[in-house]
């Protein structure tokens, strides 16, 4: 298990590096974006401004100091989960972000679970029953789902399930029932890809010599599928899933609009139009942090599944 400890150390270091990179991007990318937050604020509130008023506001917000000093001050706050206060409404960015983020994460997580529940059995089944009626039907369904944009699917789902059949609430947020339709809409877009992926890599693994050897030893088909074939498809699957989780959070913004869910989406669009630096920086930090952690966990999981990953990492 020494290999694992070694691997963990290396991953941890690279994760720390990624975090530092993230803070740099979050901070400086905002500053090179065109537009001035103070001006945007006054414009949004229809207050006529003079140069003096702008100067004074900049001083209050610390925007007149050198960039690097601003970065260090901001970084100090980030360490204690303090992303500053919003220019727009003067509220604490971290508190507001957290409130919206929790909603978005819930949506993304449920969508993620839907994805797994739908993709894994269907993917495995269509690989085992290759070229069967089931396989062909799946392919056809997948194809039609993949060719539709996710907001359109959302409207179809709302229309059929909520409006026509009246099975689930039309929109809103708060009860478990309200999360089903939006999560499904969010998940559907990614489902075709993963069913194909599981099917393809399972079929590829079935041709491996070690599968033949397992059969030659009289191992039953179900054990071969679980222990040998599916396990071998897991590492690329987990790696992609980590990426997809980030995409789900991004995609959540659209779904939140369709279903009027009080998540990150609308909040951040507002912040962008207002050039609300601290909110945008906080947002990038939060998403980025989350993304890095999820990928770290995925790497860890892969290393647990595949001993060669631990070894390779230690050799290099």
């Amino acid at each position: 298990m020494n290999g694992m400890a070694n691997y963990l150390m290396k991953r941890f270091l690279s994760m720390a590096l990624a975090m530092i990179g993230l803070t740099l991007i979050a901070f400086f990318l905002m500053r090179i974006m065109p537009g001035d937050p103070i001006e945007a604020y006054y414009q949004a509130n229809h207050i006529p401004v003079t140069e003096e008023m702008l100067e004074q506001a900049r001083q209050e917000q610390g925007l007149d100091k050198p960039l690097f000093t601003q970065y260090i001050t901001w970084l100090g706050g980030v360490m204690t989960f303090d992303f500053g206060t919003s220019f727009m409404n003067g509220k604490s960015v971290s508190e507001e972000l957290l409130a919206y983020f929790t909603v978005t994460i819930q949506l993304a997580l449920v969508a993620f679970l839907f994805m797994l529940i739908i993709c894994i059995p269907i993917g495995i089944l269509s690989a085992i029953k290759q070229n069967s009626v089931f396989d062909h039907a799946t392919r056809l369904t997948i194809f039609s789902v993949a060719s539709m944009p996710s907001f359109w699917l959302g409207f179809v789902l709302i229309y059929v399930i909520a409006f026509k059949l009246d099975l689930l609430p039309l929109m809103g947020w708060g009860t478990p029932q309200t999360i089903i339709l939006p999560a499904l809409t969010l998940a559907l877009g990614n489902i075709p890809f993963y069913i194909r992926m599981i099917r393809t890599s399972m079929i590829e693994q079935m041709k491996q010599p070690f599968v033949t050897f397992a059969r030659a030893r009289g191992i039953s088909e179900s054990v071969i599928i679980r222990k040998h074939i599916f396990k071998a498809t897991l590492t690329p699957f987990v790696t992609s899933l980590a990426m997809t989780f980030g995409i789900l959070i991004g995609g959540a913004a659209i779904v939140e609009m369709i279903f009027s869910i009080p998540g990150m989406g609308r909040y951040i669009v507002g912040a962008i139009t207002a050039r609300d630096y601290y909110v945008m920086q906080g947002f990038i930090m939060m998403i980025g942090f989350f993304f890095i952690i999820v990928n770290f966990l995925a790497d860890l999981l892969c290393a647990l599944i595949d001993p060669r990953i631990r070894l390779k990492e230690n050799l290099s």
Binding site: Q208, P209, F210, A214, R215, A216, R217, D306
Partner: protein
Amino acid sequence: MLEVQNLSVHIQGKQVLRQVSLTVPKGKVVGIIGESGSGKSVLCSTILQLFRKDRKAAGTIKFNGDCLLSLEEKKMRSLRGKEIALIMQNPMSMFNPLVTIGGHFIETLQAHTSMTKKQAIKIAKEQLALFQLNDVDVLKKYPHELSGGMLQRIMIAISASLEPKLLLADEPTTALDTMTQLEIVKELKKLQAKTKMSILIVSHDLGVIANLAEEIIVMRRGVVVEYGPASHILLHPIHPYTKTLVAARDEHSTLDELNDKYEDTVSGELVLYDENHWVRMEDSSR
């Protein structure tokens, strides 16, 4: 024990085996020699019925009274590994890289018996000790941590652990260096002497076959060319192809070089030349 009669196999419409007949008597070692592509591996996997759906097989394969070609899959599975074991070439790719050696051992034992994990591990350890593999904790190792020779010995150990009556050894020494090849041959000899199991050993290395087999089958492009006691085949080969083969061994050239030397296609009927010694004779030479 094993009786193959007029076995023809088609893969994707291409005929790979033509009317192959052979018997492996109880407790005997029969060797098959032939250049690569002559259908040796297909023969082994057809005996075990491994690719039933992808192949069309005609003829009969009888094992202890069962007709394997028509045996239902469930029964067939219970024979695989338990009654008929297979060891293959390229041990490096025969183990699942994500499963420990112990995992391979345990699943094999549990597939055929109702033993617990603990009992399986105990048997695995005993078995490894028989093959001098007990010095390090091999069971906890992953395939990539072991050498090809080690893996091949482990493969033999796993196959032997359920005391099969017939062992199919498909080029067990091919991917290994010469020293390790000798070890593996020695190991197989020891195992056979101890368990008295029947072995069908396949190789494109006449040295390996000569060392182990009492009877030799010479194959070329899916056809049996000559078939008889080892002494006859090695000392008095009749068919020109076998002659070239034996000569090549004396000159220490490899079988692949033989491909260039011998280009004629083999045809004609298999006729009884001497006691138990069959040779395919061209019509014109009769």
